[in-house]
């Protein structure tokens, strides 16, 4: 499969009065056509900022400092604002975390769907309406004809997220960036929405960048996983490989903190400590203060991302070895 998106050495910094936050620091990854890439990590790990950087929607005081974002052979960082507006929604679209707030409350669903089609597709009014109805049907909304006239507040959270997904799919994009698409939803709705997304991206041949803090979600959905910690990718590889042969202690911590219903345990596993202050990152490895295997070198030298298996990268001085256990 061809590489659809290739991010090289991306640095997105936030310059504030308190200092500079390196929200995304030298991150490189790629997404192939039709692939689902999971990006996991705790809050503040730079997952969302990575997603927004790709589509170049970083608000002040954030700024993309350097790097390349090559999408379909062209560097998005070299494009002008008006050129980017032809990429946003058309080539790359987004699904946000909270469907309660990502739809504009004063416009009907139909108007908000129509807006994308009007911007990116050469269709007449009648064709656009038909396309909207078809899209709503695809995302599982009944009575699409009458629902088009409804406002967002007349939909439930799960239904709204379906509408958001329909909008994201409207112009047949090649990549959808979904930023915590199920976090704000009821648990029962979460799996429905995830199944729907997986089905739709497969049907439409769209690549998906799924940003979530929930490794369990990613392990069911994604082809490959990037684990991010403090603005850096600490481990990446095929989903199976990450789940079964994880090598970074942080990945292990994330996996262990998934509650397992089959095991009768009185306590949930957690990763000790908290995410460090982004204004004042530790010297050496960012994870060292929380790491059980921390050695002297971890406090001095930052580990490099190195290939440890086929397409399996890790940045750790002492990667865990399943065999050794």
């Amino acid at each position: 499969m061809n590489k659809l998106l290739e991010v090289k050495g991306l640095k997105t910094y936030f310059h504030t009065f308190k200092g500079t936050v390196k929200a995304v620091d030298n991150v490189s990854f790629d997404i192939h056509e039709g692939e689902i890439l999971g990006v996991v990590g705790e809050s503040g790990g730079g997952k969302s900022v990575t997603g927004f950087s790709v589509i170049r929607l970083i608000d002040e005081p954030g700024q993309i400092e350097s790097g390349e974002i090559i999408f379909n052979g062209t560097n998005l960082l070299k494009k002008s604002e008006s050129e980017m507006n032809k990429v946003r929604g058309k080539e790359i679209s987004m699904v946000f975390q909270d469907p309660m707030t990502s739809l504009n409350p004063v416009y009907t669903i139909g108007e908000q769907m129509d807006e994308v089609l009007l911007l990116h597709e050469k269709l007449n009014k009648h064709e656009r309406r038909n396309r909207c109805i078809e899209l709503l049907k695809d995302v599982g909304i009944s009575n699409p004809e009458s629902r088009l006239k409804n406002y967002p507040h007349q939909f439930s959270g799960g239904m709204r997220q379906r509408v958001v997904i329909a909008i994201a799919l409207a112009a047949n994009p090649k990549l959808i960036i979904a930023d915590e698409p199920t976090t704000a939803l009821d648990v029962t709705i979460q799996s429905q929405i995830l199944k729907l997304m997986k089905k739709l991206v497969e049907e439409h041949g769209v690549a998906l960048m799924l940003i979530t803090h929930d490794l369990a979600v990613v392990s069911e959905m994604a082809d490959r996983i990037n684990v991010m910690y403090c603005g850096k990718i600490v481990e990446s590889g095929y989903t199976r490989e990450i789940i079964e042969n994880y090598t970074h202690p942080y990945t292990e911590g994330l996996l262990n903190s998934i509650p397992d219903i089959d095991k009768d345990k009185s306590k949930l596993n957690t990763i000790p400590g908290i995410v460090p202050n982004m204004f004042d990152l530790p010297k050496g490895c960012n994870f060292s203060p929380r790491c059980k295997n921390c050695q002297d070198i971890c406090l001095e030298k930052e580990p490099k991302l190195t290939e440890i298996g086929e397409n399996h990268y890790v940045s750790c001085h002492f990667p865990l070895r399943k065999e050794a256990n």
Partner: protein, 321 residues
Amino acid sequence: MLRYLVFRASQLILVLIVVSILVFVFTSVMGNPVYLMVRENATEEEVQAAIEYLGLDKPLPVRYGIFVKNALRGDFGKSYVYHQPALRIISERFPATIEIVIVAMLLSALVAIPLGVYSGAYPKNFFSKSIMTISIAGISLPSFWVGMVLIFVFSLKLGILPVSGRGDVGVFLGIKTSLATVSGWRHIILPSVTLALGSLATILRLTRAGMQENMRQDYVKFARAKGVPRKKVLFGHALKNTLIPVVTIFGLQLGGLIAFTTITETIFSWPGMGKLLIDAINSADRPIVSAYILFVAVMFVFINFVVDILYTIIDPRIDLK
């Protein structure tokens, strides 16, 4: 909707009852118009005749009853000064006031909303900061001073605009208005600008605050992610959500301006309702004052009704029921 209209109508009646009592009591207590009507060294009989002519010999509740009965027929009595029905005098003056108010409100909306949107979207920009500084001046400078300065600069020093008065009146759609003539427009500019400044600054600051709030919302970012150009996001998505408080204030300002253009009209000798009110108060012309205040009360209720209807058009989540 029907229930809402009935509710609104009963609200109007209640407001009118309360206002009419207040107006009646206060105008009856303050000042004595009898001595304005009789000659300087009038005899006891002449004074008594004037009192009977005005109906001031009857007790207060009876006079109120008569007042209400007549008012319901649109009769607020004849002006003590002009000897014409009070309501007719007010309605003759109404177009003069409404025209400067409309020009002033259009001016403030057309200037304040775009500037508010801009300074709300780019709050750190130097231009935005300058706008905000100037708008504080707009809020805090009293209109009589601004009016005088404008006359001084544009009429006396530069000599490009007339000092005062209404100018020529043309007929447009059957209404006599200065908006139909060039001379009228030349006369309208300064009083309208004077009137506009206060509301312009208020609407600008409100728009800006709302825009700053709405620009942080997810739907703005989502619209951007859909590929909607920034300008369209500002005016199409964020502004519409900002409009609710702006429309509220706009309605209040509109009512306030129509009702109380007194200062500006006095400065510019504009023959509108405001000047009429001041003259009527000075000469204790009770029928004019009471008709005027009731007229203003009706108008406020009506404007608020229109504002309520506008809410439902702007924001579908608002239900009038």
